[in-house]
Amino acid sequence: MHLDQVVAIVVSVLGSVATLLIVSLGLAVIFGLMRVINLAHGEFLMLGAYAALTATRIGVNIWVSILLAGVSVGIFGLVVERLLIRHLYGRILDTMLATWGLSLVLVQAVTLIFGPSTNGIGTPLGSLHVGSYSFSQYSLVLIFAAAAMLTIVFWVFTRTSYGVMARAAVQNPSMAQALGINTARTNMVTFALGSSLAGLAGGLLAPTAGVVPSLGQAFIAQSFMTVIVGGPGVITGTSAASGVLGGSYNLVSYFTTPFIGQAALLVIAIVLLRLMPQGLSGNWRRQL
């Protein structure tokens, strides 16, 4: 194995890990800090992709479009929380069913508006050559974006007063309320933040994946597996699970086919859960 091949494999593995992290982080924030399972998470990604697509079509710069995707889906999440989610706190299964219904409605609505066909955004930046291998510079962007998103989430939840209140609210809601924390408001902000991360993810992936109404379904299985395997630690758990699952998916795909890679991801996730039902971060001290 030559050095250029090693570099190519490392970049490819890191790219898979980063993609998994990007698509899972919003879901992990909402589940970890609200105990709400957003089954429409995939559709939030899809909305982000369409937001970025629409923005670039009217001539907005691609990087600004991606950020706009995060902002617009964040606002959409805020509306969803007010109209739907807040009526269902504490009823996990009902929340799942309602967000599931929402996901069906969103897919159909977007199909009616944009049509069922695939739209593309050209991948910005060119490709990079290392020896006889080449890879897109955009995969480096994804790796940096994943790191940046992690840093931002970590900063928000440890360094801002909202973040501390949100963590208090999920650990002991009645105590948090007794201390004067408005848990309804922290929940609202958390959901909007998680939605915004999902939208940003959709925007980031739009140039590499075809933008179709069913875009969400392609990512939702992996993101749920990542969050469950990660366990309660939003940052530590999600990163570790992305590393294990993304890494093994990529390597198995590289040496066999993506078809087997998909199946391997599922099998590894399920076996890991059998061994560690609390998730990878279940017994770690730092729960973020």
């Binding site: 399972i37 089954l39 739907l84 009526h87 269902l88 009823r91 996990i92 299964l93 009902d94 799942m96 069913l97 309602a98 599931w100 219904g101 929402l102 996901s103 069906l104 409605v105 897919v107 159909q108 609505a109 199909t111 009616l112 379904q217 392609a218 939702i220 299985a221 749920f224 597996m225 469950i228 993506p258 078809f259 998909q262 199946a263 991801l265 599922l266 996730a269 399920i270 076996v271 859960l273 059998r274 061994l275 039902p277 017994n283 001290r285």
Partner: protein, 598 residues
């Protein structure tokens, strides 16, 4: 009135009547309608599988369509390869059902034996379904084939043979629409009947118990993981049957059933039909399919929008489901079983027999959470047929120690011996089967079941014989003084009575060792005094370990006491002696600085 009417009204004959009506209907409708109706019944069968798993056993599965789809593909693979020579598709049908059951069992093994939470079960089944969607859609191209059967990717598998019942050399006739309809109705009827019988068996009651209170069921000695696995595999088999019949019905299969809208539909059938009603599964499927066929004509491509809207609307506005809302049929979650009451009317033996009391020992037990040792090298010996109390201030490690004995925690180090044999790493239900009866602090009973059914479940775990279990159960009710309330739902009992009922359930499983965690929590003084008598009575036939807070209760028990403090044994002896022990007084009065003169 009379026999005819009684037969018509008996719950077991109702499906037969409906089935005959459905077959009769088949004589009056066109072939096209028959094919449509057959499809609705197939969807009803799929919904039945979810209602069994979710409505009856409380396991929420998003994955029934995965088993449906997998079985449909399996049927196609086997039928395409085998039926041209064998002239039948029975092997394909059986193979597909078996395959779906095995798939469900494998998934169930990882979920239930890993003890993942309910929500995770939902997500894992959903994710598995979606992964199957991705895997099957990426099988386009001739290189993906099993024998002569091409998987076909997104476009699906074609030329799947219809159902036929011939034999090699004499191929059966390909079934006409009328035959297909008849076969589907018969299969659905038989399956429904089999599910009813399963639920009426002893195992069916255990399933109800698992749904009502998983922890209590485990503490009674039932293997909850195994019960869930069996019911999940059965649900997979039924979904698989629906899938196999579907493939034979349409001669075609694509990955669509693995998609989110398809899995959502099954949940909607059950939600609308009324969860846990079984028959409602068919009603819901027929209602939704009829509606979407009608709507589909008016509003093409709007069906998904409507389905999603219904899902949100039902959850927000009528969480109980539509049909129970209209008919007021909700009633009790668990219907009374008249057959069981007849069995229970027998005379009872005066007391539970064959119990001697056995020895329990803990050696150098350590339990650390992170860096904190909640239990730090505790050794205690509970000799056979003795009563022993464990006390200590808050945070002393009493609950941790109790949970180690129960098996809810696994110790970091040390061993637990029962009659000299190690049980350190056994599951709670395995300990219960070896004769260790457990009562937790918060009353853990089946609130929706009658008092009598509660003790019956406890006794059945031990004797595995329904009439004998009933007799033992009634004997226990006499002993704990609840026989007059035998028919009341356990949730209607006062707090103190619920505690006695739970002690009664422990007794009914004829334990050798009884572990009680704060049996008098929340009791009035009179109730506490009666509990003293009850516990001393228990100690005459079994080893009893009581963890307690209430000093008066401990004093009245008049038994050896061990004081725990900061995870270690601080002192042992009779309570009267301990009251003169300076260390114990320090701990209880908070005089931490005595030694340094502070």
């Amino acid at each position: 009135m009379t026999v005819a009417r009684r037969v018509l009204l008996s719950p077991l004959s109702r499906p037969v009547v409906v089935m005959l009506a459905a077959l009769l209907l088949g004589l009056f409708v066109s072939d096209f309608q028959k094919l449509t109706f057959a499809l609705w019944v197939i969807y009803g069968l799929l919904a039945l599988s979810l209602d069994l798993v979710w409505g009856k056993a409380g396991i929420f599965s998003f994955g029934q369509t995965a088993f449906f789809g997998a079985a449909a593909y399996l049927y196609g693979m086997i039928a395409i390869n085998v039926s041209p020579t064998s002239g039948e598709t029975v092997t394909a049908l059986l193979g597909a059902v078996l395959g779906a059951a095995v798939l469900a069992a494998a998934l169930g093994y990882f979920m239930f034996y890993g003890k993942v939470g309910d929500v995770y079960v939902a997500i894992i089944t959903l994710a598995s379904t979606l992964v199957l969607l991705q895997v099957m859609t990426s099988t386009a191209g001739p290189q993906y084939h099993i024998g002569k059967a091409e998987l076909g990717g997104y476009n699906g598998m074609t030329h799947i043979p219809s159902m036929e019942f011939g034999f090699p050399g004499h191929p059966g006739d390909q079934m006409s629409p009328a035959d297909t309809y008849t076969l589907v109705v018969l299969l659905a009827g038989l399956t429904y009947f089999a599910v009813l019988l399963l639920l009426r068996s002893g195992f069916g009651r255990v399933i109800a118990a698992v749904r009502e209170n998983e922890l209590r069921t485990e503490l009674l000695g039932y293997d909850v993981r195994r019960a869930k696995l069996i019911i999940f595999a059965a649900g997979g088999a039924i979904a698989g049957l629906a899938g196999a019949v579907f493939a034979g019905w349409g001669n075609f299969m694509n990955p669509a059933p693995f998609s989110l809208p398809a899995s959502a539909l099954v949940v909607i059938y059950v939600l609308l039909g009324g969860r846990g009603t079984l028959a409602g599964a068919f009603l819901g499927a027929v209602a939704v399919e009829w509606l979407s066929t009608t709507l589909g004509g008016v509003l093409p491509s709007g069906t998904t929008l409507v389905v999603g809207g219904i899902l949100i609307g039902v959850v927000l506005l009528v969480p109980g489901g539509l049909i129970p809302l209209f008919t007021g049929l909700v009633g009790r979650v668990v219907p009374r079983r008249p057959s069981m009451r007849r069995v229970l009317g027998r005379p009872l033996p005066a007391r539970v027999d064959g119990v001697r009391g056995q020895r329990l020992e803990a050696h150098n037990l350590v339990k650390a959470f992170g860096g904190v040792k909640a239990i730090d090298s505790v050794s205690l010996d509970f000799p056979a047929r003795e009563l022993h109390c464990l006390i200590g201030p808050n945070g002393a490690g009493k609950s941790t120690f109790f949970n180690l004995l129960v098996g809810r925690y696994s110790p970091t180090a040390g061993t637990i011996l029962h009659e000299g044999r190690p049980i350190t790493h056994l599951q709670p239900h395995e300990r219960a089967r070896r004769g260790i009866g457990i009562k937790l602090q918060v009353p853990s009973i089946y609130r929706e079941l009658s008092v009598r059914e509660n003790v019956w479940l406890a006794a059945f775990a031990k004797v595995h014989n329904p009439p004998r279990a009933a007799a033992v159960g009634d004997g226990v009710l006499v002993r704990v003084g609840l026989i007059e309330r035998a028919e009341d739902p356990a949730g209607d009992l006062s707090h103190g009575e619920q505690q006695w009922l739970e002690i009664g359930m422990v007794l009914a499983s004829s334990p050798e060792v009884i572990l009680l965690d704060e049996p008098t929590a929340g009791m009035t003084r009179e109730e506490t005094l009666r509990t003293v008598e009850l516990v001393r009575n228990l100690a005459q036939q079994a080893t009893v370990v009581v963890v307690e807070h209430d000093m008066e209760f401990v004093q009245r028990l008049d038994a050896p006491v061990t004081v725990l403090h900061q995870g270690r044994i601080l002192a042992r002896g009779k309570l009267a002696e301990l009251r003169r022990n300076e260390d114990v007084l320090d701990v209880y009065l908070g005089r931490t600085f005595r030694a340094t003169g502070g």
